[in-house]
Amino acid sequence: MIKDFTARLWKLGDDIDTDIIIPTEYLAFPTVEEMKGYAFSPLRPELAGMIRPGDCIVAGRNFGCGSSREQAPEVLKALGISCIVAGSFARIFFRNAINNGLLLIENADLHDAVQEGDVISVRANEYIEANGMRFGIASLPENLVEILDAGGLVKAMRHRNGVE
């Protein structure tokens, strides 16, 4: 069960690649906590410091293209990003984000209708409301909802096995 929520948004363009999300030179840091301050640094070095827990990202198409580095969704999760709404997602990033309990929503129209700093309301599996307009969203399959609810695939496996 994904809860309804509102979020302040940060707006990014098309083709936000994994090397933008977290550049290679920071991958050697032992923890995601140490990396997260460098998220998006090639594009907007100030951004990571301005993101507050609960904020969301609204981007264009092909978000997360490139590397399979799982640190990409991990740093966004660590920054407290509540969800990413994009025109489309690259497939490896999509799996990695769900596996880390990071909600992704595909919508091609929202991007052009909002500005950075706007607040969106997400009604799970139904629509996103922004600036008085509603944008329909698809519902996620049950198995993915189970993973998101648990906070990621590893935690979902533990739930399923009755460990937690």
């Binding site: 083709d15 090397d19 991958l27 640094s41 092909n62 293209c65 399979s68 490896i92 990695n96």
Partner: protein, 415 residues
Amino acid sequence: MGMTIAEKIIAAAAGKSCVRAGDIETVTLDYMMSNDGTTHLTIDMYNKLVSPHISDKDKLIWIVDHNVPSDSVKTAASHKKMRDFARENDITLWEGRGVCHQIMMEHYVCPGQLIFGADSHTCAYGALGAFGTGVGCTDYLYAMVTGQSWLLVPPTLRFNLHGQLRDGVCARDLILSIIKMISASGASYKAMEFGGDGLASLSIADRICICNLCVEAGAKTGLMEVDDKALAYLEERGRVPKQVFAPDADASYEQVYEIDLEDIVPVVAKPHFVDNVVPASECRDVKIDEAFLGSCSNGRIEDLRAGAKVIKGRKVAPKVRFLVVPASKEVYIQAAEEGLLEIFMEAGAIVMNPNCSVCWGSCQGVIGAGETLISTGTRNFKGRAGSPDSFVYLASAPTVTASAVMGRIATADQL
């Protein structure tokens, strides 16, 4: 209704007679490859599981290639974690002997297999008719523990290749031209399948380069039809196919493209995206600071021969660094035996040990603010090779080498 190669491999891995694009299937994997980019994270997660076990250690291949030899104390620590875990759990570990995908091609990949790699360029394995796809470390962990995973059966884009490439035009030019045509997300979630009468003219090295870069169009995998050339490559290395799957004549494709190989010209992908492709002739005024010949895309013996042919008797331009990085120990020794390494070094190139090098912007050769690199690497994203304020152009081995000689972007026929 028939099946594509991707559908046939997934059906076999799922124990079914037939699957269709859009189905979600639970599949059993043949190999699971992981490298030092993320294996330390997988180990951390594994150690947090309650009484974990490895499903089949013989299917795990671990390769230290991204930062080898280690370049910092932090890297040394993550390598040690990988090495220790591999030893304790009797997992095959390769270190310093090549780029992961090249080692997989030389020693493991067989037609019909389904292989996960914790690296996006795992799609290269389709050069030998195997379904390789990149995953993150959580998916890798799940596969490592269960031996299985789930896959959405991808729709397939079919590319019929006709004729042959002109002299001086390479597989790299072909796949960059295809990526430009369909865009960097044009094959998202899809398989790219290659066949046609033009396939026979492409070497295995060419095919690896093409399949390797399919992920730069968003593809889940790239797959070549298996022919005598592929079977001969396997036989030379003492391997036999798991199963050779040809697509059915009535297979269902999302789209079919007819590509005349003679139409392809030398191209470069300009900063900062892989589909920003133009004829190399349009970039002749771009000065370079560094050139890189290597990587899982173009670090094979054929690429080194092509580069050596261009640079023999010439010199690297003043103030330009030219890094030559054979993709594996096998390639390195072969290049040494053929005298290629001597040609490069006499010309002023720096010949490095087999590793991922500047292609992934770590370890060696990273470039500074304002600098420009021309590379046979996989990506030219902003900051990919070092400073966020640097510039990366992607091109074929001969174009990269000719550029190293000229100090600006050039094709071999301009020398």
